[in-house]
């Protein structure tokens, strides 16, 4: 109980201490944040050792949070292999990124605020990882969203950063609309057969297994539950059609992009799918939908990365695409492969983002066409970046090779069409990463700032080296075998046919990129002309942002403006002021009777008397 509680609350304590006490001291704030994260990492390691020694397999602790007649909500932890792995990723990668931030944010005025936000984020993220029930998970899910909002908008004076933070929060809020309804529906569905509703994952798992054995599952409702819960995943993991917030989220500081918008938070959606796998996997059509959305996002986002000039946005599209792989793997019924890829991706994508940060720090710009020649100027950054690139491209023996292979293998077995998509995406991945690496690091320097670039300080390159080692070697750690504890009976081993083909495709992509961007090879003019129009579609991101902007302005703002006018003219103008006017008119009409002239009073007495007499006089 103490270890997981400490694991969760150490970063929160750091956050509170920074806000409350060390706000004015930048080094102390950074130290507190790093210390909190280190405590969490140590706790994770301790739990991990307990699991390895076989002392524990599944730990659950909880305390009541809300107890009312008809509703019991608890606050609690559920620790299993997947949770530990995720916790290790969050605390391990997190710690490295915290350390890196000390160098990256050295010139920032309000660094304490930054470290407070980061610690708050770590707390919220660990909450998602550890939560034993969907309401607790939802709580941290929202908190993570809020931290992301604050960190994207860290440079709030910049209108684009302020807008990007808001956009991320709102897109996620729309997704959470479905997620919350899914939780409610699941809660009421679980209340059948004389038992109270629950949102506890273990209890749900037991109940569903029970009902499945008795043949009492309702696939329609269960399908709805799965789709609604998946809405949350689509938002947080930025799957199509709610992917639009993630590229804009690159407005935040680069270490934030590395930690939150690449390695951990956006992977929370995939992790959620692993947690609720027993719910979504109960209905095959839900699984097909999940796999299709994941596969489509993978290739869709990879295509956008082909033409993007901004180094961070290339990596952002790449993140989208890789998350698509993971979601697809979940949909294909391969949660171990998905979690494996999540882990390796966290290492190499954090590495790539931090490398990009190091580059941006040196050349003061994001445009890869203004870089060049950086491998010589920044050898540590350059070589670690190369490792990350190879891992992302899935080249043997780097970690990405093993995890991507597992996913493609699952696709090959269950859905050939998605396997083709996945393999093509692997080629596209290699192409855009090759383009990025060759243009930024190998071509001659294209600007003054690239000419005079210097290697970043050790506090930044140190984490790069550690992450590079992890990215290179994580394939050999036996992560799938560790996870098998949670999900039994999944295929294991390398299929050399699938792996060989994807490797060949990756080499082809890298080669083509080298040919074009290093050797200066140009395709024939006719082909180039034909590529122009699809290129425009790609660089405008298929106009999805424009379409959403139109919907936002015309439908949502239109309705708002219409109702505001309705309020003004109908409710206030007609109903309320109308009533007031009517009362005034009535008053004015009746006022005529009170003229103060004796003659008119006498006249009305006369008329009234006559009328009464006439009425009373009935012969």
């Amino acid at each position: 109980m103490v270890t997981p509680a400490l694991l969760l609350f150490a970063p929160l304590a750091a956050c509170a201490a920074i806000v409350g006490i060390t706000r004015r001291s930048r080094p102390l704030s950074a130290g507190l944040a790093i210390g909190g994260m280190a405590v969490s990492l140590l706790c994770t390691v301790r739990l991990f050792l307990e699991f390895l020694n076989g002392h524990a397999h599944e730990l659950q602790y909880s305390i009541p949070w809300i107890t009312l007649p008809g509703l019991t909500l608890e606050f609690g932890f559920l620790i299993n292999e997947a949770a530990l792995l995720m916790s290790g990723v969050v605390t391990g990668v997190g710690l490295l990124i915290f350390i890196y931030s000390v160098g990256y944010m050295a010139e920032e005025e309000h660094r304490s605020r930054y470290f407070a936000y980061l610690s708050g984020f770590a707390f919220s993220m660990l909450g998602i990882v550890l939560a034993n029930n969907l309401v607790t998970l939802f709580i941290f899910w929202e908190l993570v969203g809020a931290c992301s909002y604050l960190l994207i908008g860290y440079w709030y004076q910049k209108p684009s950063a302020a807008a990007a933070g808001k956009k991320a929060f709102l897109v996620n809020r729309i997704a959470d609309f479905g997620f919350l309804l899914g939780i409610l529906l699941l809660w009421s569905y679980s209340a059948g057969h004389g038992e109270a509703g629950t949102v506890n994952l273990l209890a749900l798992q037991e109940r569903l297994a029970h009902w499945a054995a008795a043949g009492q599952l309702d696939p329609t409702i269960l399908g709805w539950i799965g789709v609604l819960l998946f809405c949350g995943v689509v938002g947080k993991s930025a799957q199509f059609p709610l992917h639009v917030w993630l590229p804009d989220a690159m407005e935040g500081p680069t270490p934030v992009s590395a930690l939150i918008h690449a390695a951990t938070m956006v992977a929370a959606g995939v992790y959620l799918l692993a947690r609720i796998f027993f719910i979504v996997s109960a209905v095959p059509s839900t699984m097909e939908l999940i796999a299709a959305i994941g596969g489509f996002t993978a290739i869709f986002a990879a295509s956008l990365a082909l033409v993007e000039p901004d180094i961070k946005r290339i990596l952002a599209f790449s993140t989208l695409s890789q998350l698509g792989y993971m979601v697809m793997a979940m949909g294909l019924g391969a949660p171990v492969a998905a979690m494996f890829h999540l882990t390796t991706h966290a290492f190499f994508k954090a590495l790539l983002f931090l490398g990009a940060g190091s580059v941006i720090h040196a050349v003061h710009g994001n445009d890869i066409w203004k870089m060049g020649g950086l491998l010589k100027k920044m050898p540590l950054t350059g070589w670690t970046f190369a490792v990350g690139t190879l891992a992302l491209c899935g080249i043997f023996p780097f970690s990405g090779f093993f995890s991507k292979d597992e996913i493609l293998l699952a696709a090959m077995e269950h859905n050939r069409f998605l396997w083709v998509i996945g393999t093509i995406t692997a080629g596209m991945t290699a192409f855009y990463m090759g383009r990025l690496f060759f243009v930024a690091f190998l071509r001659p320097a294209a600007s003054d700032s690239a000419q005079h670039a210097h290697e970043s300080p050790a506090v930044m390159t140190g984490p790069l080296v550690v992450l590079a080692l992890l990215s290179a070697a994580a394939g050999f750690f036996g992560i799938p075998a560790f996870l098998q504890g949670a999900h039994h009976a999944e295929h294991h081993g390398i299929n050399w046919g699938v792996a060989g083909l994807s490797t060949a495709v990756a080499f082809a992509g890298l080669g083509l990129a080298g040919l074009i961007y290093l050797k200066g090879w140009r395709p024939a003019a006719g082909l180039l002309k034909k590529l122009e129009s699809p290129g425009r579609w790609l660089s405008r991101k298929f106009f999805v942002d424009e379409i959403y902007g139109w919907i936002n302005w015309n439908l949502q703002q239109g309705l708002a403006r219409f109702l505001a006018l309705f309020e003004r003219w109908v409710i206030i103008g007609f109903m309320v002021n109308g009533t007031a006017k009517l009362t005034q008119l009535a008053g004015r009409a009746v006022r005529r009777l009170q003229t103060g002239q004796l003659q008119s009073y006498a006249l009305s007495i006369l008329v009234g008397l006559t009328l009464i007499l006439l009425w009373g006089w009935r012969p």
Partner: protein, 499 residues
Amino acid sequence: MMLGPVSWILLAPLIGAALLVCVPSEQVRWVRRIAATATGIPLLLALSLIFRYDPVAAGYQWVDRIPWIPSFGIDYHVGVDGISVVLVLLHAFCAFTGVLVSYRISQRVKEYAIFYLLLIGGGFGVFTSMDLFFFYLFYEMAVIPMFPLIGIWGSKKDRDYATMKLTLYLTAGAVMALIGLLTLYTLSPVKTFDLIALREAFLRQPLPPATQWFLFPFLLFGFGVIAPMWPFHSWSPLGHAAAPSAVSMLHAGVLMKLGSYAILRIALPLMPAGAVDWLPWVAGLACMNILYGGFVAMAQKDAKFVIGYSSSSHMGYVLLGIACLSAIGLNGAVLLMFAHGIMTALAFAAVGHVYDQTHTRILSDWGGLIRQVPFIGVAFAAAALASAGLPGFANFAAELLVFFGAWESYRWAAVAAVFGIVTTAFYMLRAVRTGFYGPLNPKWTGLKDATPFEKIPYLILITVLLVVGCWPQSLLTLIQSGTGPILEIIQQASVGVLP
């Protein structure tokens, strides 16, 4: 006879008002000190009651009773149960922080403080009265001082219209409710205004369902005006906007809760069959509140109007929670009254701080303020995020309960309600973005952030939101002890009505 703590809570602001009459109006410091003491004492007493209230024994505790007009069955009869002890605490927080925020007022301070304290006394009276006559008396006492408070100290632009509209509208609603109350009195077998006695009498000998069906709307819509129930809400955003900040804080924080409190306290237990008939309609109207208010708030440019329409939207959740007629829904509704009251007080205080210096509330005129006034900016952002249902703040826990309750009782309404928090996030984040983020408008480089003293009310309110948000059960146990008996009456009635 010894008076108990509840009476002192009620009397402290009234004594304060009486003392102020004797203080020369130049003695501004003494006026402020007396006002702070007269609201600080109730706050301390209310806090001690929260800790000392016994939820196992439940029922009214610390009851004081003094016969007043025995022939009509009118007594001074006050006490608190699980619901009112929580709302008294809400009122005490809003009142005390409101006084601290009002330290900025410099014009006719003495008169302002007197009206303000009368208003506060009225609020405490409504939440503690166990006698319908006094309930109504205090209800009017809480409404009438709004007229001078907005009319004299309000923002010049729209205060005349706003104050007339607010007072007339609320009085009209109150009169409609009065008709219902007097009819109940004449129909009751016991001829008393005592709420407990009436409740027991109607429990033994319920009114015929047809009578209840006819009479229930008088209380529902009469009190619903102040709730504010759609489409009778239009007095409220304008009223908030025109009022000085501390009055907006009390007005949106506490006064709007009087309506739903009265429905919960009087209409439901006395006419349970009427409630069962009418509340599905209330659920519909509540959804109109939520969605309509949310969308109208999106189109507002004035910060106070955004919060005003947001309040009317979020009071829809309270009405929806009541309409559920289930333990989850009712408890959620009362907890939300508390949470929303604190949050909205925080928001109005922050807006008021900026308005007093910029003299504009148009969000796009502000721009980038968080750089200049970081503390106020953070306070406003906290209120915005709390309102948008960010976990950790009390509003989330309360709204979550309303969702769960509505999901059981009216599933379609739950969908609308959950969508409501999407709209809230839209307008609240837009307000933060337009007013506080972005480049600083060069006009406001002279703006002053809160001084350490001025920070106190904000810190109090934020702390309360966080404590209740992380540990909602602290209040829910109390609330449950109050809503439980009401729910029992409803259940008995629905068993009786439905064959």
